[in-house]
Symmetry: C2
Subunit: 185 residues, 2 copies
Amino acid sequence: MAIQKITKDEILLKSSDVFRVKGYHNTSMQDLAEASGLLKGSLYYHFPSKEMLMKDLLVSIHTYLTNKVFLIAEDTSLTPEERMEKLLKKMGKLLLEKEGGCLIGNSILETVGVVPEFQSVLKVIMDDWTKALQTIYVTRKSSEQSFRLAQQTIMEFEGAVMFSKLYNERQFLYEAFARTMIKLK
Amino acid sequence: MAIQKITKDEILLKSSDVFRVKGYHNTSMQDLAEASGLLKGSLYYHFPSKEMLMKDLLVSIHTYLTNKVFLIAEDTSLTPEERMEKLLKKMGKLLLEKEGGCLIGNSILETVGVVPEFQSVLKVIMDDWTKALQTIYVTRKSSEQSFRLAQQTIMEFEGAVMFSKLYNERQFLYEAFARTMIKLK
DNA sequence: GTCTATATCAAGATAGAC
DNA sequence: GTCTATCTTGATATAGAC
């Protein structure tokens, strides 16, 4: 029994950076192995295929967001503005402000309709993200309007991330954050 | 000299559908050849590489948008509302409402930072799209505000296309169109 | 659990016949 | 201009040693 060089979760963490920057189809098992400090063949001890590795990654992102980020929306010890700001900051650090943009947004455009395995996880992430924002907006607006606002907010974020990537200029995302705070008023 | 089975432009047209639905890296020359009714090797008579084929496609899209769509914004025989509506309808048909979403948006997320050849064309398309919308907004708002509004409008469109793709529901895009008409007021 | 080695296949691309 | 045939590479994935 050889020494445990790296855990499954660590491989997923390293892989997420590669997928985000290079894209799903353009990333090889070779790339992922290098990022993890393993050799190509060793990855197949942890994951049966590149597709399952990616799916595990998406599920683990969903789990993390659910347990560590989205529940900020329900923290009644904070004002709605404070909740919104705290949630946006975390989403920024975890997903939106990273090099290569948003792994979730990238994956939606690249894989929906092409790799059916991923679609349901991607949907659930977006559903729960929407619900979290709705929970904050609903302190000030109707349930229906909050739902729409939540969706529009995420759309703006993803569009802003696209612009940030194209023009290599993070300001687009920060301005979208600022507009979101205004929408809450 | 054999019969001309297909022209360069026809290959680009067929290829755009494949790239949009399957993505750039996930599309093979085989796929493009099939879509064009040719065999793989024959494509290399028309284009030196897959990368150059894609670049030609992006340039031809930019040329078409410049000559047939963006100049609607300057048609002073129409009211700003009429110009906006006409331009949005055309952009919808050409780019946004298609199966697989928006080829330009897809390509930005998939290739910027990975295939440097494409970035400048993608930028110019977004620049000119922004300018066109700005030209319409500026009839009602300041130059600076029109520029911001134009950028935000496109971000919203791209975000809406992402949602439309994920949830297989075009309504997201149509609602973004409606919000754009309201912004002009 | 990670390594080395390898099987298998599909990709991008080229050469030459027609 | 398109075809057939082929080269070369790099990809996913597996087998077995350590």
